[in-house]
Symmetry: C2
Subunit: 110 residues, 2 copies
């Protein structure tokens, strides 16, 4: 996962309203929810909701399909899994770096 992609996903989830929206969509997997229902559940005015849905969509965390007058939003849980992988592997996991002077070096193993 690209660093910039990860930052966008992190930023998208680093906001209470959006995290709540996303969790609601995860809860209603795999059917998803129409925008109006989300706004009803979380008591959000249309414009505010739409703004946050857009952020989540741009970050690749949700997608939408039209069903008549409604837009059904669904969570892309795979994107979250990739983000978790990024945090653990590409980004921030424990590793022995240049300045390491740890006493439990395994440099003469195998």
């Amino acid at each position: 996962m690209e660093k910039t992609t990860a930052i966008e996903a992190l930023a998208a989830l680093a906001q209470e309203t959006r995290l709540d929206i996303f969790r609601a969509l995860v809860e209603y997997q795999p059917d998803g929810l129409p925008a109006g229902k989300i706004g009803e559940l979380l008591k959000l005015p249309g414009a505010t909701l739409s703004f946050h849905l857009n952020q989540l969509k741009h970050a690749g965390l949700i997608q939408s399909t039209r069903d008549g007058r409604s837009l059904i939003y669904t969570a892309n849980t795979e994107a979250v899994d990739l983000l978790a992988d990024f945090l653990r592997e590409d980004c921030c996991s424990k590793s022995v770096g240049p300045a390491a002077s740890n006493s439990t070096s395994f440099s003469n193993m195998g």
Copy 2:
């Protein structure tokens, strides 16, 4: 992990400069780096660096210890692991919720 704690950690990492700082500290685990060295590596003015270090510290992602005139910062990789766990488990993992009408229901298993 609390939702608010997770949001603070997500917000802390959702910013390029801070993510870079954190990654540098992970790379220099477990010794860490003095603030000045971080600023030198990432070419950041003191005040800007200090601002971001503070954000990361408040989010529980790094900590500091004094060594003479220097403050040595170290990454708290465990916090990132907990954040990754939160994303996978408490928050956003695939699950069958209230509205689920999936055709691969296991309701009459076992």
